[in-house]
């Protein structure tokens, strides 16, 4: 009686469905079948490579030499006792904390400035989030263009403002190249902090401020006593997400300084990339990657545990 009607929501379909064993089986295991593709993908391209790389890090993996000899902890010790590796880790920590701190400050200021509506707010919003949608490679390229020594406009503008010639080598001289890398990162990721903190600010119930106003609390006190505590969980979340991305810093360095001069701007990711793909010490690089992974995991554990704790209900 049922000619497979297109309307799926028809009680008449109940009978024919029973007969098909396969469809009944798939329906019974429905929830697992939905999960399987994603789990298989992650297993094959994340878990399996990690296990494989653990093996690589204990052998001497070389395309030229057949038979990968077991070398124990040698690859790990080569990384640990490499001064460049240690410097890159220090620089990674310094740069990522500086980046995240500045982005948090600026992002919070932007969010406070944007929280109340004003004419043109939508347009300003659209402009402010633009950097989030640009490839970090292009961000690096854009800032390199602006900062390039003889002819980038930055030195010229600074010279005009200060009234004397400015010849800062933004991409080659020691303190300035860190400033340049921080500027590029802050440019790209301040909007990230801003957008999340703005969502947090909007969610604070306005009656808290009204009550405070009646109690005679002034603007700064209201910020300290209401805004910051209410915002704390969101700030924590924003820092967690941002910091875990910030420690990967690679793209802008690749474009702006290529790690140089010398190894002055090597971050951990850049160091491991260089060891693995320009020197082709694959085993040493995977050993280093495992060390970096463990350090990141510790950071994740620390931050995410706090995050779960500070979550309001």
């Amino acid at each position: 009686m049922t000619t497979d009607a297109t309307s799926a929501i028809s009680p008449a379909r109940r009978q024919p469905r029973r007969r098909a064993g396969l469809s009944e089986w798939s329906d019974r295991h429905f929830r697992w079948l939905l999960v399987v593709p994603a789990v298989l993908l992650i297993l094959s391209l994340s878990v399996y490579p990690l296990v494989f790389s653990l093996w690589v890090s204990f052998v001497n993996y070389d395309f030229q030499i057949p038979g990968h000899a077991f070398v124990g902890l040698k690859n790990f010790s080569m990384v640990i006792f490499d001064p460049v590796a240690r410097w890159s880790l220090v620089l990674t920590i310094l740069l990522s904390s500086a980046n995240v701190a500045i982005e948090l400050g600026l992002g919070l200021a932007l969010a406070l400035a944007m929280v109340r509506s004003f004419p043109g707010r939508g347009l300003v919003m659209s402009v402010l989030i633009i950097p989030l949608f640009i490839s970090p490679v292009i961000v690096g390229q854009a800032w390199a263009l602006l900062l390039q020594r003889p002819f980038g406009p930055m030195n010229y503008l600074l010279g005009q403002i200060l009234g004397q010639e400015v010849t800062i080598g933004w991409l080659t001289e020691s303190p300035w190249l860190y400033v340049a890398l921080i500027i590029a990162d802050v440019w790209q990721w301040t909007p990230f902090m801003f957008v999340i903190l703005l969502a947090g600010l909007t969610a604070i119930p306005p009656n808290l401020y009204e009550a405070a106003e009646l109690d005679g609390v002034d603007g700064w006190q209201a910020f300290r006593l209401i805004t910051l505590p209410q915002l704390a969980p969101i700030i924590m979340l924003a820092i967690t997400f941002r910091l875990l991305d910030a420690v990967r810093l690679f793209d802008t360095i690749f474009i702006m300084t290529a790690g140089g001069p010398g190894t002055k701007t090597y971050t951990s990711s850049f160091y491991l990339y260089t060891v693995g793909f320009t020197q082709f010490h694959l085993s040493q690089a995977t050993a280093g990657s495992w060390i970096f992974l463990i350090l990141t995991a510790l950071l994740v554990g620390l931050l995410v545990r706090r995050l779960v704790k500070s979550e309001p209900a």
Binding site: A8, P49, F133, A142
Partner: protein, 286 residues
Amino acid sequence: MTQTPATRPGIRHRRRRRPSVGRFVFLGLFMFFVLAPIYWMFVTSIKPSDDYLAIPPVWFPAEPTTVHYTAALFAYRGLQGIVNSLVVSLAATVLSVAVGTAMAYSLARFNTGGKHLSFWVLSQRFLPPIAVVLPIFLIYRSVGLHDTRLGLIIAYTVFTLPVSVWMMLAYFRSMPRSMEDAALVDGCTQWQAFWQVAVPLAAPGIVAAAVFAFIACWTEFFFALVLTSRTAFTLPTVFRAFLGFQGAQYGEASALAIVSLAPSIALGVLAQRHLVRGLTLGAVRG
């Protein structure tokens, strides 16, 4: 102590007045900071090469030119990079969102695997790419996936999966399940309730997840740098060609940058309503 009641009448004025001027100056300066690099890139892309080195800098060229665009697209194989980027990003987006939506539905409606499974997926988001890219490179070399679009599609699908799963998980959780329940009562299979009821209802969330997956793939550099070389290279990796020759190819690099950033900015600004959920994997509602 006693001062609190005394000041009460005057408060309302004090709170409203102060911030406005400083607020707009700050916003204005920050907008300048955001737009300046993009403007400079655009101007450089249409400048005749002679204008690069001029001091004072040429703020807008007297005779704009498009030669850098043609050079970037053809001489530097930017066009092939665009085609590769489009194919890889679109395919990975479709796969990631399809697989991710399926998993998210199961997690949201059946709590499959409890907290462990969903947090295991989330933890993938925090995995540093450098830790997996080396072994993936070695594996790809041995199975012939190195420098193929397929290899990059699989890699991008996996690395955008946590965001797709968690965005959709948040979406399904915010969606009432009564429609699916009604469908089940009416004799639908679980599959039909999912495919014909839940998925259409979740369409806005799926579109948002797709936009963010696409932008992530379109702007990705690191995996593409390692996993491709001469044939499957994507748009961001084309910029390698301009390194080491600083100065000579400013125009080409800028032209390519403008071509590359236009679509992702357009998409991102259109989808900005979902931005907060996208950035926080659904943890914060916009």
